[in-house]
């Protein structure tokens, strides 16, 4: 009898504590509840910087109660998004593993009154199914690179194009500007190759080696990411062809890896174009605007992205805008 009453007492205390705890949670109502569905940091250096950025911006200190799921599996991502909608988050941020299959969950979010922002990756769905998407404009990145190249006033532009994974958004966008410049006769593409699905530096090296073996005359390497630019430069070094600031061949890379930026700084390469993984601050700004009752942007919004060449590069830029490990000032990554 007494043991039973003790049990009841314990149970009641637990219940009271639970209610109190729930009260304390609701007392934190000033925090904005955000669910983030993202890819795993080990996917790439880009993603690592992206996840870090999300963690830094959507922190408690900044007024957020943030939960996140990092997985490369689309169905797990969708399940996580459904979970967040059930939990009653106010904002849902998604970087989808796969562009399709999201219609139902996005509609469910709409019905539940959850505001959806896409970041980094678009989803094939009706634009009304999300509030806004913040992505890199790969075509603009390509245009930046081509404009930089044409501003160099070289007597001729004989380009080796090294593409990334064929058909990927980055490859299509970054190729388009150069192909347009070729069609209008501004540049000549003397070799057209790819680093394959893994954007492989070794494959890029082979593309350049094949061009050298074929006796091609070229003075620009347009590699669609930093790793492939590195592989291409290795091929030039082995063949004794000069490159960089005072060399024969201009080297262009993409993505703003810190090692690449240090190479540009040292004049070993010429130009690198940013592909920013840091979308959190802008999206947070939108959320704060919406919270204060004002209107935020809708539809697809492109990030402002910059380039760095040997003239414009600074230490500050490398530290704040770069991704991955920094080899340190003056260190060349061959």
């Amino acid at each position: 009898m007494s043991s039973q009453s003790r049990l009841t007492k314990v149970f009641c205390t637990a219940l009271v504590l639970l209610v109190a705890f729930a009260g304390s949670v609701s007392a934190q109502g000033s925090l904005i509840r955000v669910g983030i569905v993202n890819l795993p940091p080990e996917e790439s250096g880009y993603r690592q910087a992206n996840v870090e950025d999300m963690n830094a911006v959507f922190s408690r200190a900044n007024g957020y109660d943030m939960k996140q799921t990092n997985t490369g599996d689309n169905s797990e991502q969708i399940a996580a998004a459904q979970g967040y909608i059930r939990d009653g988050v106010k904002y849902l941020l998604i970087s989808a593993a796969n562009a399709s299959g999201w219609d139902n969950v996005l509609k469910a979010a709409k019905t539940a009154g959850v505001t959806v922002f896409l970041f980094d990756r678009l989803i094939q769905t009706d634009a009304s199914n999300y509030k806004a998407a913040l992505v890199s404009d790969m075509a603009a990145e390509g245009t930046t690179a081509v404009n930089w190249l044409l501003s160099q006033k070289l007597p001729a532009y004989n380009v080796i194009l090294i593409r990334g994974q064929m058909g990927s958004a980055a490859e299509l966008g970054r190729s388009s500007a150069l192909l347009k410049a070729r069609d209008s006769g501004k540049v000549k593409i003397v070799a057209d190759g790819t680093g394959g699905d893994s954007w492989s530096p070794e494959e890029a090296r082979k593309v350049v080696e094949a061009a050298i073996a074929a006796g091609k005359d070229f003075n620009v390497i347009y590699a669609q990411n930093d790793g492939m630019a590195q592989g291409a430069v290795q091929a030039l070094d082995a063949a004794g062809i000069s490159h960089g600031k005072n060399g024969k061949v201009k080297i262009i890379g993409f993505d703003f890896n810190r090692f690449a930026l240090r190479n540009v700084q040292a004049g070993y390469w010429d130009c690198d174009i940013q592909c920013s993984p840091r979308q959190a601050a802008e999206i947070s700004g939108w959320i704060k605007t919406l919270e204060s009752g004002k209107k935020s942007p809708t539809g697809i919004v492109y990030q402002k992205e910059i380039y760095a060449d040997t003239a414009t590069i600074t230490d500050e830029l490398i530290l704040s805008k770069g991704i991955n490990a920094d080899p340190g000032k003056g260190v060349i990554t061959k």
Binding site: G45, V207, A213, D237, A238, K334
Partner: protein, 355 residues
Amino acid sequence: MKKRTHGFQVLLPLSVLAILILINLIKGADYFSVTLINGALYGNIPNILFGASELVILAIGMTLVTSSSGGQDISVGVAATISSSVFVRVLLGSASITWTTILVAFLISCLVGIVIGAFNGSLVAMFNVQPMVATLILFTAGRSIAFLIDGRLSPILANDLTSQIGSVIPGVPIQTPIILTAVFIAVVAVFLKATNLRLYSEAVGINPRAARLNGIDPVRIKLLTYMILGVCTAVAGFIAVTKAGRHDSVNLLKFCEMDAILAVAIGGNPLGGGRFSVSGSIIGAYTIEVLNRTLLRLEVDPETIKAFKAVFILVLMVVSSPVVRAYAAKGVARLRARLDATVAKKPRDPEREEA
């Protein structure tokens, strides 16, 4: 009889290699020309030897485990990524980078390779898990492990000594990875000559129970071959990371396991285990490298280059398949018999003989 099939094994990849080289020669007669640039030999052949070095080393290890366990390790690229991440971690953690610290870091990474090999090997040998399934575990999870060892960033190996290992040591006219690969091949050749591993591995691969009855422990032999493969992955990872100058856990040696298995197959080794030819696999690995470069030399569109490679390999695999081989052998035998018959019957009338 044994000798003849063995000869055929190496003959096929060699003839394919010859065809590819012929195509290259038609494209440019200076294919074999070698020049001295910055104190190192430069040309198509050095480039091929340089480019294929990791693949050759992985193919050697893959041949051994294929022989003993009748299956393939699909985690070799990932294993190489993990062991090389340890190499980079140890090296960057040491006070200064000297030849000694590089050697120590390399040996530690070999140890890691052996541990990984033992892990895969014990799953295969003791628990009888299908090799492809057993190594699938590491294949899916391994790059995340390497990512964590890397400290979530791609660490940079920008120093003179490691970049000399990945390219050229001043005063030595041959690129270092080529030398390392040659040394490795020599060590394996001596090892196979000096030990009974070949006999034991083939015996286990052909019939583990019979091997057991003859006093060979299949578990130990399988485990051993996986541990040797572990050493191969560590060496391949070492070469790959010194070439790259930084450790990219996501992309280092990505998809190379498929090429390694392909090299074993092109080398004429039965993928179901048993007899094996390391030299066949080595030639197979160089064949793949030359094929890749030939497609580039022929300026195949980047959109279609994969399809071209696939068709080429498909034809190669069909030609070298046991069915076609048996058919060809039968054809050759019939032809020879007829030839012998006509030689023997020459003085007589062949038409009357038919009846």
